[in-house]
């Protein structure tokens, strides 16, 4: 079944490891929606959060192919796990009228988005939410501010939820 999948990947914090992992996806024609990487509490280990859309068989292959890389320490399938997941997204909107401004402040309030920067005619929004919620917000704004906005997205990072 085609669906969205999540992997948390523990890798050696070495030169070339990101290329090895991203190269695996391109070389084997695996779809890749997003990939983020950063160092962990252990300086020698990096952790990647990878999302892709694929069927069960392909996803099994992806996990196995990742696991057989010498540089990969651990592959954790987050797809159906209880996880805490967020993505940072910046949206800069320019040439705003006063009405636009009012509207943007209202949207920021409703969506709990931070106003990270502000000038008389432009606004910088900072949204730290799930990828899907960011999609929704981007979609809403694109409609209203076509050709006036700039979007930068960081890709998702995820961690297992704290068990209560």
């Amino acid at each position: 079944m085609m669906k969205k999948r999540w992997i948390s990947l523990f890798v050696e914090n070495d030169i070339g490891v990101l290329a090895r992992i991203s190269g695996l996806f391109s070389g084997k024609s695996y779809n890749l929606d997003s990939l983020t990487v950063g160092r962990t509490e252990d300086r020698t280990v990096s952790r990647m959060t990878i999302s892709l859309t694929g069927d069960d068989m392909t996803f099994e292959q992806v996990k196995k192919q990742l696991a057989r890389c010498v540089e990969v320490i651990k592959v954790v399938d987050f797809t159906d796990a209880a996880i805490h997941r967020k993505e940072i997204m910046f949206i800069k909107i320019q040439n705003c009228t006063e009405a636009d401004m009012t509207e943007l402040f209202r949207i920021a309030g409703v969506y709990q988005v931070k106003i990270a920067g502000y000038s008389p005619s432009s606004v910088l929004l900072e949204s730290v939410r799930t990828e899907e919620e960011n999609d929704e917000l981007a979609h809403l704004l694109e409609h209203r501010f076509t050709n006036r906005m700039e979007i930068v997205r960081g890709g998702s990072v995820a961690v297992e939820s704290v068990r209560t």
């Binding site: 070339g16 068989m57 196995k64 696991a67 057989r68 010498v70 540089e71 990969v72 320490i73």
Partner: protein, 574 residues
């Protein structure tokens, strides 16, 4: 305190490396200096880095040791690429050391600088540049460990010149930690029991044996398992020889050039028990119809090989030998008499090829079988390889080296040089075509210089025969760019070889002579044995035997592209 280059030599000795294949250059000169006069490491200088890496590959496959390559940066390194892919695809353990520009110059587009780690990333098991002298020992240790552990493969170690020169610790071996390289060694007994359960229920079981069985050195155990259970054995090209070809339970090779009985056995079986193979497209034919009525057990050391091409009922991730040993404990004899009789019927009805008189590939290979009891036979790629895999009798005494995964033309001859260097007491034979032999013909000098009496059998048909056969069968005889006898004066197009064809170039006998090697041209069936015996007696250097075979000789049977395995063309039309 010793230099990086000295530590390199110390590490090779500690890893019990007795032979390396090496071609010097500016960024490797310090390493060669450290090897100068070194008595315990035999340094072989081939004539091209591609020949070098195939030789190291042939050495590794035939000795089961790790092959070692040493080349310079830039073109020295890029010339290894095809050989690295060839070896890695067939799970051959190699460690390839490449010289590199000094660390400070990396990225500056320095003279003879390439990012060999980046270039080889997708075709090797692991690739790394040594960036600090203190890491050199642990990186070399890791390289050898990774190359031969689990599913073997190629490791590239890129050594910048300043690391080679810098003084530092001389400690080797150093303890290493490899969090990401922990192969499965033990067998899951629950899965083995499930597999045995399927075996006991089956009436028409088949063992499908791949190269993994040979890599794990489980030939004897495999033979015992087949005999104990009375189950017929079908092999892939890479698995041929896991059970002696003459064994009554051996059916033959499977696949698009497999034998009729093997393809029918797999198509009709109710249990396909496969060990150490990855269900490559060359063996499955039309995938939807592959072993359609069978439950499938799949044992492989690489979990990524399982359930990739074929859905499997019982997956077992394990080293082939460990799994076979476990099966020997749990499995019991089956009554397969009727099934074996059916398969024997297929074998008799359609033997591999009808015996024909004349100088045919089959006759030549049968003579090789008869004359050489203990031999390593390296094949090239194409028709020569397919005939060899069909007709060679393999087993205890005779082993075959072939590029199965990548299918690299030019592999056979240099691989044989490496095999001979590692097995001086064995006869080493190359079965090559006139096309493939020319791809690494420069290695004649290596064979002569190191007095390696390799016997080179060239099946000369003046064509790139395998592609020509496809053109004949599936492209209306459009012999497009496959005639290598063709000259400027030939008509365009041409698909009818005949008496007016120009002379073949080069003259292989004169070529052999110019290298100081023996050369024999064989044009008739009666001359085959005499030529082979004469080559066998020549212990001084290589012998080229050029067999002038029929120009349009085909490899049959063949499963046309897209067909299921049982839809084979058995004989030539018309």
């Amino acid at each position: 305190m010793i230099s990086g280059a000295e530590l390199f030599v110390k590490a090779l000795k500690a890893e019990h490396v007795d032979t390396i294949f090496a071609y010097p250059g500016g960024q490797a000169i310090d390493l060669f200096d450290a090897l100068y006069g070194e008595k315990s490491i035999h340094v072989i200088l081939p004539r091209h880095e591609q020949g070098l890496v195939h030789a190291a590959d042939g050495y590794a496959r035939s000795t089961k040791k790790t092959g070692v390559c040493l080349v310079t940066s830039g073109p020295g390194a890029t010339n290894l690429v095809t050989g690295i892919a060839t070896a890695n695809y067939d799970s051959v353990p190699l460690v390839c050391f490449t010289g590199q520009v000094p660390v400070g110059l990396i990225g500056n587009d320095a003279f003879q600088e390439v990012d060999i780690v980046g270039i080889t990333r997708s075709i090797c098991k692991y690739a790394v540049t040594v960036r600090r002298r203190e890491e050199l020992g642990s990186i070399i240790k890791k390289a050898f460990y990774i190359a031969h552990t689990g599913k073997p493969g190629v490791v590239v170690v890129d050594l910048p010149k300043d690391i080679q020169q810098e003084n530092g610790s001389g400690i080797y071996p150093v303890p290493i930690e490899l969090r990401g390289c922990k192969p499965n060694v033990s067998v899951h007994m629950g899965q083995i029991k499930k597999a045995v359960g399927l075996l006991n229920q089956s009436e028409k079981p088949v063992f499908l044996v791949g190269g993994g069985v040979l890599i794990s050195g489980a030939e004897r155990e495999m033979t015992r398992l087949a005999e104990m259970t009375n189950i017929p054995v079908v092999t892939t090209i890479m698995g041929k020889g896991a059970l002696p070809s003459s064994h009554p339970l051996y059916v033959g090779n499977l696949g698009i050039h497999g034998c009729y009985a093997a393809n029918f056995a797999v198509s009709s079986c109710d249990l396909l028990f496969s060990i150490g193979t990855r269900f490559n497209d060359r063996i499955t034919g039309k995938i939807g119809d592959f072993a359609k009525n069978a439950s499938i057990v799949h044992i492989d050391i690489d979990s990524a090989s399982i359930s990739r091409n074929i859905a499997v009922d019982v997956p077992i991730v394990s080293d082939a030998k460990e799994a076979i040993l476990a099966l020997l404990e749990k499995a019991c004899p089956l009554c397969t008499k009727e099934w074996l009789r059916t398969i024997d019927g297929w074998k008799r009805e359609h033997p591999l090829a009808a015996e024909r008189p004349g100088l045919t590939p089959q006759r030549i290979i049968q003579s090789i079988n008869r004359i050489f009891d203990r031999a390593i036979i390296a094949t090239d790629v194409g028709q020569n390889q397919l005939w060899a895999t069909q007709f060679l009798e393999l087993g205890e005494g005779r082993k075959m080296l072939t590029s199965g995964g990548l299918g690299t033309m030019g592999y056979g001859f240099p691989a044989a040089i490496g095999a001979k260097a590692g097995n001086p007491d064995m006869d080493v034979i190359v079965i090559s075509g006139d096309g493939g032999f020319q791809m690494n013909v420069q290695e004649m000098a290596t064979a002569v210089a190191y007095e390696l009496p390799v016997i080179i059998c060239i099946f000369n048909n003046g064509y790139l025969g395998n592609v020509r056969q496809w053109q004949e069968m599936f492209f209306d005889r459009h012999y497009s760019s496959t005639c290598i006898q063709r000259r400027k004066s030939c008509p365009l197009p041409c698909n009818s070889p005949g008496e007016n064809c120009p002379d073949y170039i080069p003259d292989f006998i004169k070529l052999a002579g110019s290298y100081g090697a023996a050369g024999i041209r064989v044009t008739a069936e009666e001359e085959i044995d005499k030529a082979l015996l004469s080559a066998k007696r020549n212990k001084k250097g290589p012998t080229v035997i050029e067999f002038i075979i029929g120009r349009e000789e085909n490899v049959l049977p063949i499963v046309p592209p897209g067909n299921r395995l049982s839809d084979m063309i058995l004989e030539r039309k018309g």
